[in-house]
Symmetry: D3
Subunit: 237 residues, 6 copies
């Protein structure tokens, strides 16, 4: 039995509140249950040095967790003077995931930065961030289309992400903190609406796993992402 | 005329939403108009090294601004690897302000950290932070009183803060971003409910000012803080 | 056709030279073709703070690349003053991979640090590092068994890793630099000798992939790891 | 009674030794009693990036304290690798204070940096620094006027600063270390020769204060600054 | 001919002003011509971790240069966030030099830190620092002898240092900035009063040199140090 | 008697393996006994900012030690976030030494960076690095001559370095770790093939030394460098 009483293939409630803040070209407050992430999409009419003059755009991400997003207060990365390895790993994953659905030639020489800040954490912050970031990105690109700066949409399709893991011997979908901290193995899957995979990661935490388990986690992820795609749809409509 | 159409002595709408997040012993989302600050109060049963064994507690604060809280995206301090001078100045001010109303002997050897993170900025983030932090602190101390860890309340009274400034020759209360960026002088006043002053700061930005102006700013601050004290009252009830 | 002329399921030459340096409790120079990584295992009779007094050991890893291991000189991380996100991601992966085959209770309160320094890079540095690190760890633990400090072997089985990817539409094993920099997708698989998976990661670089492709990459990885296990065997004999 | 035996409105001896070092365009050793600060004004024919091409100059300040300027040795900020919040707060105040009396258009596209290094500390280092910095700035600007690079003086008037505080219930002028460390409240006032205020700051340390006290501190500051203006006059003559 | 008109074996005027600041256990302002270094000796009744419990003391040094000690302003190391290689090299040299004349067993478990801060630079700052530091150390140790904390003097003899170099083909003593920046080779010699050498360093800058030149530099250094020993004597008397 | 049984003027075995890695324009693995240093020479067609447009080249060096090159594991400088003073001192010495034999005008506007990474340490790492770096530099410059980018050789002659010291009262050549850690004094000498000195450094560690000792160390260094020059000759042939 899961601590939350959910069925193995049951997601937590997904909430995506668009336009949560005013200044960003796109912004959402995304919730997977008690996990709440504020994502803003910031549009800049310039690209990083390695892309200058190539006629291509860039999508990148930064990730942070407020010190008391968690059960016990963590130290503030700005005060410590560096981002942890975990933070860097997550923000690299978010950036790669969103880039997998954007045509950079069509975007043109501009950059969109997705800032994902966790206001409250209960497991799955990176997958909530990716899922919400797609909506923020969608909203920001819409401003380009509306204003006529772009005439062809550079976003090819939706992307969403969800965590899965093996908890007390059972593959389960969308781990919360209690599950995440005790799982034998857990993974994150970044899926496209057409069924393709942008990223699959599964890590043994307390026990290694076999090929069959990997496939079952992937199948659970498909169930979860179907729900997320629907929530993304509602949010941008 | 003020850009917002407010009267010179008119505050923006004050909103204080208690228990905005779950994990912290106290938390609020405080708003002064479009300025929105999430404040959490984290309680730890230990004190900094310089206080160990003295039987006294400590109250401290950290401040941050999300990269896209502002009109244009600023760089993330965690990524730059250091907090700006502005950030440090603000968090020192918040900590001092809250300590001015706490009896550290009564608090006992425990520390309360007030994390003030600006989700959206429109001027006055530090004063909104102080005003909200008092509520978060109040909620956190209430848990100590309720649980019986404390029997005497270490909070002596309320503290609130508001900015004032001279905008186009007129002293005005609670500057928003448009006013703040064009003010001749601006200041921050931290006041106690009994009328006393915890901190008064007034800085010439584009023009120096005289003693009469300083007093008018202080009088405006009294008007604003009266409103804030009422909002604090409503939030903790 | 692969640039190297290899068949899709063909590994590069695997070389594992044990005892490459003198001071470390275990050391190897591991080569996957032109990729050369020096791995040392350092044994210390203490554990990190979070494990003190729990009767358990710890295995951790650090990773570095010499500035001119690559085709063009990269900057030295020690001179820049920080490790890149890529470096941190890799050393976290190496540490997790090795921990998956060690019984920490049996190891006792001691730490083994695996330093993986790339002397020459031609793709697959992290997987060569993991594969070599197992040998260095084996040698270091052997000194504990020989000296009588341990009587029961805490290493449960072998672990090895290899990269796979989709290059010009074809799934291939053990990517070299030319393949790695042009692959549509690539992944790293960390496998145990009993067939279980410690870590599976597959990332879309230029094109997303489907479930069938993921499985074919995993099957290639099994072929590669079988060869690596044999090379590990020869090295520790 | 004050520890030094001074009357409540009595300054310590003010000494301003111009041209204390040779290389800087302006330099002074300023003393407020045992507080000794070396201030140099360095002139550069360039401005910070945000001002380039605007036809305006810039005046900025940096502040440091030698490790053994104080009663017990403090750590060296260069060795720790960062400036404290206190240091940054002070150097921002010094810069703002001096900018309040300079016409940046008249200065033209050049920058003057005021380095304020405390050789010996006995309270009031920031106010001594501001008061001395005006003389160093005056000397540096004089070289521009003498050389004909400037024909109109960009310095509008004098600026000086002094600390005041409430010590054992009595408002006193120009706190030394013994008073400063025990004061109920203390403040720093930056005044112009025409009586206007560039900056007023008053902070409750051990007790909050009322409006009357704020005004008495300001009046004491006027007495002190009158003396400082006279000392500045003597120094530049 | 030397720019200053000095003879090849002629030192600049040596000035050593003891007790230049009040708080340190020992302090001097040392001058070699226009080079002025403030040295303080700070005594602490504790030793670094590697010496705890061994019954031995420690002498160490830190070095800094005020930003405008030089002809053109250099950046402040505290603001840059790190000490340059040159700074670290110099402070290591100063520490070693002073340790060469102190009996650490006799000093007992206490540390003396020599802070050497260059107020004005005209070549030879490190050698002036070493020569002045001996006096500051002497004064600090005297306080231990006077107070009865030590009964046997741990300072064995005097140590002094001077630079020498080959300027326009001629070996010269005590290089000033003009000579230093154009010298073919230059060196620093740290000598004891009994004639022994604590440190000899000679570096080719624009031309390598032969053994005979090395010996002539050493002989010039002996001449210079004889004068410095006399100045040290006068300062501590 | 020396711990290794060597005669006082006996070097350890010198090995210089050219082309140890593939990508660098020049590379060697240099060994002085058990000290093993990998040196790569990286050629870039650009110079540092201070040399741009002057028609001159630059030769510089960086130095690092792998964490377990030594008897006990040291911390990784990249992980600590800064290079030690020792590291910086050594890399400055290596750069200066190599520059002493290169005609920068003939080299033209290009930079050669010598990365010296210690794989295994047993004393004398900096002198082995300098001696090996000359070979790496020679190989890199040869590629310029072969390709016709240079027609005149900018390398004037060979440079080599060796350590000497006073061990148990006897001057000895090429100290290993056991000698180095117990020597009364030790030094590093950088010599040219024509007998000239590029750098002489001798430091009292446990006892100061006299002029005669300095000369004997220099004479030992000449013996050692003669052997190193021969080994360099063999390596580049």
């Amino acid at each position: 039995m899961r601590p939350s009483g959910r069925a193995p293939d049951q997601m937590r409630a997904i909430t995506i509140e668009p336009n949560f803040t005013r200044h960003a070209e796109g912004s959402v407050l995304v919730g997977f249950g008690d996990t709440k992430v504020l994502v803003t999409a910031s549009l800049e009419e310039r690209v990083p040095p390695f892309l200058r003059g190539k006629g291509e755009g860039w999508v990148t991400a930064e990730y942070g967790m407020l010190p008391r997003a968690t059960h016990t207060r963590g130290s503030r990365e700005a005060a410590k003077g560096k981002q942890s390895g975990r933070t860097q790993e997550i923000q690299r994953l978010i950036g790669r995931s969103l880039r997998s659905v954007v045509d950079m030639k069509l975007l043109g020489e501009r950059q969109i930065t997705l800032d994902c800040d966790v206001l409250q954490a209960d497991g799955g912050t990176r997958t909530a961030a990716i899922s919400g970031a797609w909506v923020a990105l969608r909203l920001a690109v819409n401003t380009l289309l509306t204003s006529g700066k772009l005439t062809v949409d550079p976003i090819r399709q939706k992307v969403a992400a969800v965590s899965c893991g093996i908890y007390q011997g059972t593959p389960v979908l969308d781990l919360d903190y209690l599950e995440d901290s005790a799982a034998d193995a857990d993974g994150n899957f970044v899926l496209l609406e057409n069924g393709n995979i942008a990223e699959a990661q599964a890590t043994a935490e307390h026990a290694t796993y076999d090929e069959e388990a990997l496939l079952r986690l992937l199948r659970l992820a498909r169930i979860g992402c179907t729900e997320i795609f629907a929530a993304q749809d509602r949010a941008v409509r």
